[in-house]
């Protein structure tokens, strides 16, 4: 029973990993671009939620949308003002630009909101439900379920709508997509918007249960890298499964070996898997 409880906790957390990693995998797969500032998008999503709650008095739905919208806009702005110019440059320039961006975003938040830890005031989501002896905190449960639904939604959007089809076309063959009349720049801007927006909602969902400060993004960024690499660059379903698996592994190894070993286990498995299957769990071979 205790073990089942651990598994449930791991999966609920893994669902959130899946959501913000799916944003990262989107631009990674589409543009072959590492975004070191992705964790910062999650962090900003958390602060936007706080602002919405404090100044507009919104509930979880309101701040979720608020964070998604604000971060979508930020993602597009970042693409148009910075990323499009470094996209064609060497990989090192990409690392440079997004690392600088991460510092810029983190410390702008620091400047505005100070270094102090904040958490959302108690929302309408609280309490715990008991399902056959397994305790599920409602905030985490709602956050996890929404995260899974949104990740699946993102996947459906990519595979079943015209705009998603155009996005994938650009990621598959930029030149051929241009021959169809698709403007790659517009699609890539959209991808950045979606990527940041997904991170923003993930931030809002985390904010329900987790206190934070401006440096919180660092942790999320590294986790997202592992999830994306495990799931295969560019694969949203891959990110979903990898996210759940990473959450599960972390929870189980924390329970069996102790919490300091949970990241060791994740990284070790990750490195081992890279050797055995370099294209990731669900990546294109």
């Amino acid at each position: 029973m205790l073990l089942l409880q651990v598994i449930v906790g791991g999966l609920l957390l893994g669902a959130i990993y899946a959501l913000f990693s799916s944003g990262l995998t989107l631009i990674w797969g589409m543009m072959n671009f590492i975004n070191f500032a992705h964790g910062e998008f999650v962090m900003l999503g958390m602060y936007v939620s706080l602002l919405v709650v404090m100044y507009l008095g919104g509930g979880p739905a309101a701040f979720g949308f608020g964070a998604a919208f604000a971060l979508f806009v930020l993602g597009v702005v970042v693409y148009l003002s910075l990323i499009r110019y470094v996209l064609r440059g060497p990989m090192l320039a990409q690392i440079l630009s997004t690392f600088g961006l991460a510092l810029l975003l983190r410390y702008t938040a620091f400047w505005i909101f100070s270094a102090n830890f904040v958490s959302l005031p108690q929302t309408s989501l609280s309490g715990t439900i008991n399902v056959g002896g397994i305790l599920m905190p409602i905030p985490q449960l709602v956050a996890g379920v929404i995260a899974i639904l949104l990740t699946i939604g993102l996947h459906l959007m990519l595979t079943c709508t015209t705009i998603g089809s155009q996005l994938l076309a650009v990621s598959e063959d930029r030149g051929a997509a241009m021959l169809m009349g698709i403007k790659p720049d517009r699609m890539q801007a959209l991808a950045w918007g979606l990527s940041a927006g997904a991170a923003g909602i993930a931030g809002a969902l985390m904010a329900i249960a987790y206190p934070w400060s401006p440096s919180v993004g660092e942790t999320f960024g590294l986790t997202a890298f592992v999830v994306v690499a495990l799931g295969g660059f560019g694969s949203v379903p891959g990110a979903l499964f990898a996210g759940l698996i990473v959450g599960l592994i972390q929870a189980l190894s924390a329970f069996w070996f102790g919490p300091i070993y949970k990241d060791i286990v994740v990284y070790a498995l990750f490195v081992a898997l890279l050797w055995l299957r370099p294209q990731g769990l669900m990546g294109k071979a």
Partner: protein, 324 residues
Amino acid sequence: MNKIPALSPTVLLAVALLIYPLIFSGAFYLDVGVTFLLAAISASAWNIVGGYAGQVSVGHAMFFGLGAYAPLLCYKLYGWTPMAGIPFGIAASVALAILIGIPTFRLTGHYFSMATIAVAELIRIYFGTWDLVGAAIGLQGPATARGWWDLTFRSELPYYYIFLTVLAVLLSFTYLMERHRFGYYLRAIKVGERAARSLGVPVQQTKIRALVLSAMFTSVAGSLYSVKTGFIDPESGFGILVSVQMVIIAALGGAGRLYGPLIGALILIPLQTATNTWFGGGGTGLTFIVYGGIIVLIARYEPGGIYDLWEQISPRRWRRKHAS
């Protein structure tokens, strides 16, 4: 025509670095100079595999950290001079380079970068739990020197010239490497592995050699750091920022160029120092807003690094490039 312009900046640079302590004799400026040299050494070491061979490692802190722990561990366990630990650091780093080089070099592009990050993080977390190396608290060097051999000096001046010597050795080595067949192999691999292989370049072997060389010098940089600082803990040895700083400095100056990392360090270290001096005490985070902003601007407008910019605006090179 070719020889003189290539030589004179080197001479100027060497003279400038040699006389810097005479002009800026204050202990603080000396310390900034030492920090700059250390950054230049680490980034130049990274440059061998990251720049010349084009294998972007974001986990070089694993070698830096091993090099940094070895001297203080020798001091802690046996009371030896920290200097005695330097070869152990190199040996451990070489072993690690071979160990991880063989499997990870099958990976390309971002996968290689990700694998190096993961290995470095793994080691960092592990060292944080390992009592022999002081776990999270870390290791300390001799509080006061027992003799010159402890390399624990009151003044920064000896460190400056020791570090400068190491940098000179490393750059001379890189210069020779550039002109040796090995250097051509590396460049061929950077351009395209498949093409390199078809030209008969032993790709796998060359990459591992490059990593081993790079690891050796990175390890020495780590040893210099811990001997000078007299302290090491998992974060300052294996932290991801240690790796990222090497990448950023090299990229900023010009990766795969002899003086690229040096130029990068020449920009970044004074920039870090200046922003922290001017804005750090205010505690508003302005330090990093300015610092991050400048990095973003350089990446946006000069993606090939400052070295490229210099080549563009240098009329002599311009003429030579377009004469052919």
